[in-house]
């Protein structure tokens, strides 16, 4: 389609992306995990800049700010990080390989993608794991400590998150 251009110093139309085409497209994490699909694109009314996207994901609708974007193309949005909310459901292992349970809830620092602590539950035990004892978050979550003390957890649970 041919366009008449009415611009001053804005980018040429060939160098922009049609937002309409992005709706429904895939959102990938840095490591290639499929986060979900784009359901909304949000612009800042002051300055008209793109502020973020709303992603329909397995953990519900997630608004992801543009500072977490790495690439936007006609086919997808690729993030520059792994979405911490997707850690929910992953297996949690101690440093000696024992399975503690799975992640039931991810507590983040404010609205950022940074994890503060994880609520981990198995059939009969639940643990609050601060991120300082987490060694690695990948396919599973590997923690440094052994975490056998249920009493310590019960005390923490009642103080920090009575809902869990």
């Amino acid at each position: 389609m041919e366009y008449e251009n009415v611009t001053r110093k804005e980018a040429e139309i060939e160098k922009t992306i049609n937002i309409k085409r992005l709706i429904g497209k895939r959102v990938l994490s840095d490591g290639g995990a499929i986060v979900g699909s784009i359901s909304e694109i949000r612009l800042n009314p002051n300055g008209f800049d793109l502020e973020g996207i709303v992603v329909s994901s397995a953990v519900g609708a997630v608004y992801v700010g543009k500072s977490y974007f790495s690439t936007i193309s006609d086919h997808s949005v690729i993030l520059n990080t792994e979405l911490s909310l997707l850690v929910k459901g992953r297996k949690v292992l101690t440093i000696d390989g024992k399975t503690l349970g799975s992640v039931k809830k991810v507590n983040r620092k404010g609205t950022t993608n940074e994890i503060e602590s994880l609520f981990v539950g198995s059939f009969w035990k639940k643990y609050l794991i601060p991120v300082s004892v987490v060694k690695q978050i990948a396919s599973s979550v590997l923690i440094k400590a052994k975490y056998n003390d249920a009493k310590e957890y019960l005390w923490k649970r009642s103080k920090q998150d009575p809902n869990v």
Binding site: S29, D30, A33, T71, L93, D96, G97, K98, A138, S140
Partner: protein, 156 residues
């Protein structure tokens, strides 16, 4: 009951095959690969050379050399590598997030854990039989899936 020893050395801190068999095997990426099925011993030197892993029902097992084992812990064996064969079945996306296909097989360098290339089956149903070879130099990251550093069009 304590056993008598004629080894000439203290064997109380050694591991037995029973300590290893059935333990989970966890790779560098915290993925549980499977469980230890066999302990492999060199018949000439009698050295421990590796383990054989059972990956579960209908899945092909895998043998891991001793050099790739990081630690043997109480509940699991930890590897110091991410097992390259585990890439099989992952989706492959190009630098723009366009799906290229799914890894159907992995070509490794001389039986080592180094990927030479990936055989990728194209995702389109129409071309489901078509495969393409992606050299390792085009791989940007391997995480949950494989991300390439080039566009799909440039792979041809």
């Amino acid at each position: 009951m304590t056993q008598k020893s004629i080894s000439g050395r203290d064997l109380s801190k050694t591991l037995t095959s029973e300590d290893l068999l059935g333990k989970d095997v966890i790779d560098f990426n915290s993925t549980v690969i499977g469980v230890v099925e066999k302990v492999l011993i060199d018949p000439k030197t009698l050295d421990f050379v590796g383990i054989s892993i059972d990956k579960g029902f209908l899945k092909k097992g895998i043998t891991i050399g001793r050099n790739y084992i990081e630690e043997i812990k109480e509940h699991a064996v930890f590897l110091k590598i991410r097992v390259s064969y585990e890439v099989k079945g992952k989706f492959v996306f190009d630098s723009e997030g366009k799906m290229v296909g799914r890894v159907s097989s992995v070509d490794l360098y001389e039986n080592m854990n180094k990927i030479v290339s990936l055989m990728v089956r194209k995702n389109s149903l129409l071309f489901s039989g078509k495969q393409m070879i992606i050299p390792s130099r085009y791989i940007r990251t391997i995480g949950e899936n494989v991300m390439l550093s080039v566009k799909k069009e440039d792979l041809r």
